[in-house]
């Protein structure tokens, strides 16, 4: 039970401090809202402020429980002294009692189910990997570190900063409960918006359509951030409407704060800022510049810290995206392209025409269902007949415009409130229809019913986890039973010393271990390590092509290899470049200057005499690519040999010589190609190189490339099995 207490304390304290911060801000700005609106808007604004505070503490390496507790206590004390919790605001018009009698039991049923799930040990895929993995890491390290090997650390993490605050007191489940708080706030915001705009009963129905939607309930009861971001975005929408109604400029900083917090919580929430600015210009036309600048300034306060952090740590403010614009050594362009492509086309989805049924009923491929009722979503177009409906549809389109970038079901959550409200507006015109639809939705979304029609492995709430939530069943026992990643994480924890790092090819439960996990796909460094490890396994990656550029012996200041093919998907890779004179290889001197474009940072891989490393363009080959060597003084050269692999057969090379400063002369167009023997000892060379780069362990899943090879040829690899769990094998590099 004490653990349950700490969990609840962590969550409640975080939410209370958020609300207190928000009330203080709204009080300071003199914002006037209806009584029912004050709490959810205080939560949203206060969350933005608390998130920023935690960011600053993390940047200052001050993430200590005492500091967080003192800061929270000071905020609560200030709010109490300034009577910020006291409200004299008028109430919104009441909702029909009959509807409340119908809906309240539903709210209790789903609310308790979700609350218990959130309080139970965290078992969500992304929650236990990067959302809380990074939170745990920041707390362990007392703040941000120069983490360049984890692309998820480069995303904006506004909501995760709230998780971090709660985590300090109640660990994983406290963080999930903070998200649950936003699951309550979102429907409340929707109802308030509807009441203010005189369609309260419809708004109430819409709030239930959203709140009981299976993917929303589960996401909101997990350490994800989609529901929180949707709530903040809805706050922007609702507040813009209030500003339009009241024309109070006091609302503008809050509008900007929430719009900025949206982006500061998730890149894909940037439409919130566009919506806010667009709305101002739409409603004020030429006179919108000053309000817009106020909004922009407030938003910048929430956005800039993340962009600056990324600029400093990974040399790209919007990492892991736009790496062609912000060239950097931490995220490869090819990874960005492949990642974006995979988010637009989930494996298993045969056609985009399957999306409607997948996101409403099946839920396996796109991870979760909205509920069958949302098959009626096209009817929301009928809401265009009213001005409120048009505004909802416009917002839904604006906030849902980024769905194409990631077609997972939960990426529909930001636009779901507007679709639901528009649907409810339409159905409320027909007496008695909306409550029936809400009841049908409730029945179809109830977990035991849901599992009867959705795909067996759809992401959904499955069981009522009361004993686990109250920790009557110990957390470790529950997680060992329910969540294989936990057992793998504990195996890592027990088998590796505290300062060791492990390389793996797929994410595992990093939130449950303090060891450093490097996932091969999550950074350029990981890509490089993965390539090193795969070279012994994939003959096509091995340096078996010898491309020789022979030319009359002459003094040169340098040589330059140019790639000349265009329009090939192949990357240009070079394992080794060897310069020759008088029939012998020129020893590489420390005063040689090596250059490459693109990926200048990797050029040394083509000059290290290692068979398992290679320089790669990490993007499709183009004629602007080159590798060059420059000497401090002219020296005789008669040949250049490039050792490369068979997976880049579509690339072509030409050789230039630097005959005088800035004077490159083409030396060879048609090189001679022969084959080299596949080198021996590659496995050992690979593991030794990886060890030199700070990785002492390998975590290999049974479905990973070469898993049998690792198991059967441990002596060749120079590795020893130290643990095995749920299809994973942990090897120590000797």
């Amino acid at each position: 039970m004490p653990q349950a207490f700490y969990i609840l304390f962590g969550a409640v304290f975080t939410c209370l401090v958020s609300v207190a911060s928000g009330r203080l801000l709204l009080q300071k700005l003199g914002v006037r809202l209806y009584k029912q609106e004050e709490l959810p808007f205080a939560l949203l604004c206060g969350s933005a402020l608390l998130s920023s505070l935690v960011f600053l503490l993390a940047a200052a390496q001050l993430l200590y429980k005492g500091v967080l507790l003192a800061a929270g206590a000071a905020i609560l004390l200030l709010a109490w002294k300034r009577r910020a919790f006291r409200s004299e605001a008028p109430s919104l018009s009441p909702l029909p009692r009959g509807l409340l009698w119908i809906y309240t039991p539903l709210a209790l049923l789903f609310g308790v189910f979700a609350f218990v799930h959130a309080m139970a040990p965290e078992t969500s895929p992304d929650g236990t990997t990067y959302h809380l993995g990074l939170v745990a890491r920041y707390y362990r390290e007392r703040g941000f570190s120069f983490l360049t090997t984890h692309m998820y650390a480069n995303l904006t993490q506004g909501i995760e900063m709230l998780f971090l605050y709660a985590y300090a007191f109640g660990r994983h489940s406290a963080a999930a409960l903070v998200h649950f708080c936003f699951l309550l706030a979102l429907p409340l915001l929707m109802v308030n918006h509807a009441r203010r705009n005189r369609f309260g009963p419809a708004g109430l129905g819409a709030a239930f359509l959203v709140g009981m939607s299976p993917v929303v309930t589960l996401d909101g009861a997990s350490a994800y951030n989609d529901v929180a971001v949707a709530a903040v975005m809805f706050g922007v929408f609702a507040l813009a409407g209030i500003w339009d109604e009241t024309r109070s400029n006091r609302l503008l900083p809050v509008l900007g704060l929430l719009a900025g917090f949206s982006f500061g919580s998730k890149y894909t929430a940037f439409p919130a800022l566009l919506y806010a600015l667009g709305f101002l210009f739409w409603r004020r036309r030429g006179a919108a510049w000053r309000p817009a600048l106020t909004v922009l300034a407030a938003a910048t306060v929430m956005i800039a810290p993340w962009l600056i952090k990324n600029s400093i740590v990974v040399a790209n403010p919007v990492s892991p995206f736009f790496n062609r614009v912000f060239e950097n050594p931490y995220v490869n362009v090819s990874f960005e392209q492949e990642y974006s492509q995979s988010m637009r086309n989930y494996p298993g989805l045969k056609s985009h025409w399957e999306i409607p049924l997948e996101v409403t009923i099946r839920g396996h491929v796109l991870n979760g269902v909205l509920g069958p009722v949302f098959l009626l979503a096209p009817l929301s177009a009928l809401a265009l007949r009213s001005s409120a409906g048009r505004r909802l549809v416009a917002a839904g389109i604006c906030f849902g415009a980024v769905y194409a970038a990631n077609i997972g079901t939960r990426f529909l959550i930001p636009s779901l409130p507007y679709v639901a409200l528009a649907m409810a507006l339409v159905f409320s015109r027909l007496r008695g229809v909306l409550p029936v639809i809400v009841l049908v939705h409730a029945i179809s979304a109830w977990p035991p019913v849901l599992k009867k029609y959705c795909a067996p492995y759809a992401w959904r709430l499955d069981e009522f986890r009361l004993r686990a939530a109250l920790r009557l069943e110990p957390e470790a026992d529950f997680l060992s039973r329910k969540w294989p990643s936990y057992a793998v994480a504990r195996m890592i924890e027990h088998s590796m010393p505290p300062d060791a790092s492990v390389l793996t090819f797929i994410q595992t439960g990093e939130a449950y271990t303090a060891r450093n996990i490097v996932v091969a796909y999550q950074s350029a460094f990981g890509n490089e390590l993965g390539g090193i490890l795969w070279t012994p396994l994939v003959p096509d990656y091995q340096p078996v092509r010898r491309v020789e550029f022979a030319f009359p012996r002459q003094p040169l200041l340098g040589i330059r290899l140019r790639q000349t093919s265009a329009g090939t998907p192949d990357h240009w890779t070079v394992n080794e470049v060897r310069l020759g004179d008088a029939g012998k290889e020129l020893p590489r001197a420390p005063d040689w200057r090596l250059r490459a474009w693109p990926n200048p940072w990797g050029v040394q891989s083509a000059f290290d005499n290692a068979c398992v490393t290679r320089w790669s363009s990490w993007r499709p080959a183009n004629p602007d690519m080159f590798i060059s060597v420059e000497f401090p003084a002219p020296r005789n050269v008669e040949s250049v040999v490039v050792e490369t692999s068979t997976d880049v057969a579509a690339t072509r090379m030409e050789l230039d010589g630097l005959t005088a400063p800035e004077q490159w002369l083409r030396l060879v167009i048609q090189p001679k190609e022969t084959q080299l023997p596949p080198p021996l000892g590659l496995r050992r060379e690979a593991t030794q190189l990886i060890k030199e780069k700070g990785i002492g362990y390998l975590l290999v899943h049974e479905n990973d490339l070469g898993s049998a090879d690792f198991a059967q040829k441990q002596d060749l690899w120079g590795i020893a099995l130290v643990g095995e769990s749920h299809g994973y094998r942990l090897y120590r590099i000797q």
Partner: protein, 176 residues
Amino acid sequence: MRYSILPAIVLLAATGCVNMPETYAPPMQRLPQAGPDTSKLKHFVAMNDPMAMEHILRDVNPSLEGGMWRWTGQKPTFRFFLPTTRHLSFVMDFSLHADTMKQTGPVTISYFINGRPLDKISYDKPGEQHFEKAIDPSWLLKGSVNVASAELDKVFIAEADGAQLGLILMRAGFRE
């Protein structure tokens, strides 16, 4: 209001302040795990390797065709130097010509390592073939020359000059 663009300026300044070197020196040079290559003989040879003939003991035509391959006779035999013997497989990449198979019909090839029979496979269709089989380390001599051969049960015999044509060989040898 005039300070409202300050954060944006700070952001832009921070974005531009990352300094990375333009050129690099050659890094530490690595040594091959299999040790320095002191022998003319290798563990594997492609037919367009300038040293290919050093590895051929018999029944491989010295003439390189198409810059890539050579005709073999009935029992192409090679010698390879093996610095190590653990987890090695014998590999041979070759092609069976449709015209020769018209005369020979299906061809059976027996593979031998240091005189021991490794495998026997029948090929009934023309085209590219890849043979690969793991070898017991006790069959091999570490740090020494090892002999590998492939014996065809029948070869094409040219009516005009009686020349024997077996396989179109691209590469052969040992790999881990």
